[in-house]
Amino acid sequence: MQQYLLSGLLFTPLVAAFIALFLPSHASGTFKLVTLITCVIQVVLLLLMLSVYDSTGGLQFVEQHAWITLDLGSWGILKAEYLVGLDGLSLPLVSLTVGVMLITTLSSWTVEKNVKGYFILLLILNTAIIGTFAALDFLLFYLFFEFMLLPMFFLIGIWGGARREYASVKFFLYTLLGSILILVALIALYISVNDPSVPGRLVHSFNLLHMRDPKNFISNAILDPNNPWMIGPLSARYWAFLLLFIGFAIKLPMVPLHTWLPDAHVEAPTPVSVVLAALLLKIGGYGLLRIAYPIFPEAALYFSWLVALLGVISIVYGALTAMASKDLKRLIAYSSVSHMGFVLLGIASLTIEGVTGAVYQMVSHGIISAMLFLLAGVLYDRTHDRVIDNYSGLAAKMPVFFAAVLVAFFASMGLPGFSGFIAEVMVFLGAFKSGSANGLLHESFAIIATLGLVLGAAYYLWALQRMFFGPFHVKGDAAAIALTDLNNREYSMLVPLAIAALIFGIFPQPLISWINPFAQHFSDAVLTLGKSLTPIH
């Protein structure tokens, strides 16, 4: 029973989408209900899983089935498996997905256009995201990864704002570029890796766990660590790492590969923005931690300074651009860029603090960015205007909204007591310690990154001052009338998120005790393996 829980969690939305397909499209309420029930079932399944999860137990809920087995004669056997499982990295992210999806469903209650299509896409997206986090077979991962792109494209392109077509095409092209780079690495890995479990035959496997062990590489295959073959200045393994890195960095998004994000966010409807910021961005960080780093540890060590540098650039650059943003959603989008920079910095440090902080930051940002985009949506729903300068003195008119924005903004700028603080402090401690502990990063990376804290306070407080302080004024009389305080549905979405951010900020131990074994194992493995492999570059 236990081993099917994960598959249950994974495929419930797909089954629901299939059922929804046959429901009459005029009964729009049923689709909302079906999606909501699906999410509730997922919550129950997740709670069941959490109750049996052993934080020191490594991979759990593993389910392995043969999926594609093709005997290619002298070329060996192509073997792809249905292999899923959760560990200290994926469990927090899967939990985040389940929670955010529930909130997204509530937030989608106001959708009026083509309700059937919308909720079916949302359900497909749900499966795809959980699948990406759960898959341990690279082909399966890639399948889910691509599977995410399509619903997202349509959700932005059909239900989005005025420039939705531009945004959705930009999103699609960027992500497609990333997918292609990952695909190249995927094929190279497939050619190079042998499944040791079938002795005597050459079995090309997509199993991510096999890919981590240098012994499983076929000698003189393109990605074999002992292959002296060079492409330009670097060996093929380093190139493969870079391909994966760029592919996932686009998702993260990392400066300078980030410009799809603000446009996608600005045009996307509120619930889609929430999914995008809270969940899709995490796949970038997840991919680095699950695939790029463990499979190519020596390249990871070699490029750690680059990863950290780009992380720091993202932190500072994202914050600066956020400050120059006139659109509230754009500001929040750039703040996401800034905050995801911490994930890169934490991973690059390869210290237990840094990696724990990076994973913590992914969860924390998921919660807080969901809150931020919901709040931007609250305002947009009422006035259809997101320009910061068109508002003034909202505090007096919408006191509860003001309180909610205060909570979200201060949580996002890393105020202690909220989850972001724990994450960022750990990243800082880890990144700084890296200089003396493993010699990967210079101390100045962490020091420069603290600029992000100051700039973060500056752009948020400046926005607060412009929008909420002073005498009440809104552009347009209709807008002034439409500005009512939060309603119950909005409450029900925001309060759980705020409570979650607080709980993870005040009682970090449970989440940390999930992440810690993973972080420990990850950083040790990458460091020892990376140093043991002969550096060819």
Binding site: K170, L173, H258, Y317, M323, E353, V425, F469
Partner: protein, 644 residues
């Protein structure tokens, strides 16, 4: 540090946690009170704070002069390194606990009168409670990270309180400035934490103090942590938020200046100064000196009653920081203690003046800026109690004998005097003496302007004293400005608070102080009784440190922000769009190639075959005659071919 007793006395523990958490409870209760019952908070908030103060006092009396005690709590563990949230009880921390909760209680009490009728009492009392809680956290924390947590929360509470009146634009700006300047300091503090963590693997203060290890980056670590102090305790150059913070309600100013915010920096220094390297301590001393001088000179030329007090706080904090910099920690702490009471007293008295005049203005329908001392005068007749409390507080600030300020300042002076003579200690001594002199000047300038002489802008309705609920806390604080809170002897600072002879009490320093203060009093009498100080723009703007800093820094940030945004739109998106256009252009070219060449070829082939088809089709047009013709022709050819 002596051996720690790991105390688990349940009553004591209960008292400590009550003192710490009751203000938090007050916050929670205020937030959860329904809006229509918001008057309730002005009852329960002071009540909870009273209980908190009593608990703190019980804890203090039960553990006074005991060995330091440590309650061990683990917050979370990263890898195998635990981050502790230990609570340390020493004389210092317990005393601060009491000072914070008592002053906070008095401010709460005062606020019930001062803020009566405010639209957002809920938010006000909630944040007041949270402010107190955060400060109590700093006082008790024995871990630098936990301290940092509360440190930032203090910043957040001050943001909320300074910006309490959201409809005032200036309040929004001032609160933003306070938080950002504090954040700049905090970023430095955080770097300090990183250095300490990377080099020692712990952030526990007691552990760090007892290990006594030194490491390479220690000066850097000390200075980085000191950055946090510069921000929080309004030291040069991050002081300008403090005068601006006067946009907040006056009781809040009292709290910020006396107990809950600026005191945090000095308290942190007191706790961790042994970790500082000598070089770092010199920087601390010089910074403190600069701040003390700038603050006192700026105070001399302000016209806003609250801004005078703000700059005076800054200058007094400078003295404390300076004292810690040269190792006079207990004297600095003593001054922090006495300052808390007399500054709270002065602020609340100023609040009473403002309150009384506002109410009079409302009734008289006559409006002028009541905080500008040039508009005031002669208030001693209308507000005798306030006059008296202001006078007592002012006398203590000026360091008049028989007041607490005299003793604490003298403790610093005597200690500065007895340090080794060097250029630094001599310049500190000169600075200290001049600052004391200027302090007397601006204090009595203020008193003369506000209370003496005749009203400069008389109101048709005479102002009346504020209600008892506001007068009572002020009177209590005024009484706490007397020498008795320090020791029984008005000329000897060694008493209950400095029980052991940390410093030798130098009799002639005392004598000199008395003469010096008397001279300053005389000067201030003759200068301010009749003549007025002309405004001095440089000093009024505190040497333009703020203007220059804000302008330059603001400009840099603004330019970088627009540049970053420009890069985003023009370069990165430009590249994307460029590649998109390139794609489209290529697509058009291939499209043309497709249409003209490939399709042309295909069409050509089709055309050819069509031509051939048309030609061959013409043979089969359905005409019998033609068929017969071809048939006969074929037969003829066949016959010719076979018969050949």
């Amino acid at each position: 540090m002596t051996a720690l007793s790991f105390h688990t006395d349940p009553t004591l523990l209960l008292c400590i946690f009550a003192a710490l958490l009751l203000p938090l409870l007050s916050f929670g209760a205020s937030v959860l009170t329904p809006r229509q019952y918001s008057w309730l908070v002005s009852f329960n908030a002071p009540l909870l704070l009273l209980v908190s103060a009593i608990c703190a006092a019980v804890a203090l009396t039960s553990r006074w002069n005991d060995d330091p005690a440590l309650f061990q709590i683990t917050w979370f563990t990263v890898g195998d390194q635990p981050l502790s949230a230990n609570i340390l009880l020493t004389n210092t921390s317990l005393l601060m606990l009491v000072v914070v909760s008592v002053i906070s209680f008095l401010v709460h009490l005062y606020s019930t009168g001062y803020m009566a009728g405010d639209n957002d009492l809920k938010k006000y009392f909630a944040m007041l409670g949270f402010f107190t809680f955060s400060m109590q956290g700093i006082v008790l924390a024995d871990n630098l990270l936990i301290l940092f947590v509360f440190w930032e929360l203090v910043g957040f509470s001050s943001y909320m309180l300074i910006g309490h009146w959201t409809e005032k634009l200036a309040a929004g700006q001032a609160s933003k400035k306070a938080f950002i300047l504090n954040r700049i300091g905090d970023a430095g503090f955080l770097v300090g934490l990183m250095i300490v963590w990377a080099n020692t693997g712990t952030l526990g203060i007691t552990e760090l103090l007892s290990s006594g290890s030194t490491y390479q980056w220690q000066t850097a670590a000390s200075l980085c942590i000191f950055c946090g102090v510069i921000g929080k305790s309004a030291q040069f150059p991050l002081f300008s938020w403090l005068p601006d913070a006067m946009e907040g309600p006056t009781p809040v100013s009292a709290l910020i200046h006396a107990a809950t915010m600026v005191a945090a920096g000095v308290y942190l220094l007191v706790r961790i100064h042994p970790l500082f390297t000598p070089m770092a301590l010199t920087v601390v001393a010089v910074t403190g000196m600069a701040t003390a001088i700038i603050g006192s000179l700026a105070a001399l030329f302000q016209y806003d009653i609250k801004r005078i007090l703000a700059y005076s706080t800054m200058s007094q904090l400078g003295l404390m920081v300076m004292a810690i910099g040269i190792g006079i920690v207990n004297a600095a702490l003593l001054h922090l203690f006495t300052h808390a009471f007399f500054k709270a007293c002065l602020f609340l008295s100023a609040g009473s003046v403002i309150h009384a005049l506002h109410r009079a203005q409302l009734r008289a329908h006559h409006h002028f800026d009541v905080q500008d001392i040039r508009n005031l005068g002669g208030l001693r007749q209308n507000l005798p109690v306030t006059f008296l409390t202001f006078l007592l507080g002012g006398a203590s600030l000026a360091g008049i004998p028989f007041f607490s300020g005299f003793l604490s300042k003298e403790a610093i002076l005597a200690a500065v005097w007895s340090t080794d003579s060097s250029v630094l200690s001599w310049s500190l001594l000169v600075a200290m003496v001049s600052v004391s002199f200027i302090t007397v000047l601006y204090t009595f300038r203020m008193i003369w302007y506000i209370f003496m002489g005749e009203a400069r802008k008389p109101l048709p309705v005479a102002p009346v004293e504020p209600p008892v609920i506001m007068r009572m806390p002020v009177v209590l604080l005024a009484l706490c400005s007397l020498w008795l809170v320090v020791s029984w002897n008005p000329f000897d600072f060694i008493g209950w608070l400095l029980p052991e002879a940390y410093y030798t009490h130098v009799a002639w320093v005392t004598a000199f102080s008395v003469v010096w203060i008397a001279a300053a009093l005389g000067v201030s009498y003759f200068v301010f009784r009749t003549a007025r100080f002309d405004s001095n723009a440089i000093l009024e703007n505190a040497f333009y440190v703020d203007a220059a800093g804000s302008k330059v820094l603001g400009k840099i940030v603004q330019i970088s922000a627009t540049t970053a945004s420009h890069i985003d739109r023009k370069w990165i998106d430009g590249l994307i769009h460029g590649s998109a256009y390139a794609h489209i252009t290529i697509a058009h070219i291939t499209g043309w190639v497709d249409r003209t060449l490939v399709d042309g070829f295909v069409n050509g082939v089709a055309y050819l075959s069509k031509g051939i088809g048309a030609f061959t089709r013409s043979f089969q047009a359905g005409k019998i005659q033609v068929y017969i013709f071809w048939a006969i022709l074929a037969i003829i050819i066949f016959l010719i071919w076979t018969l050949k």
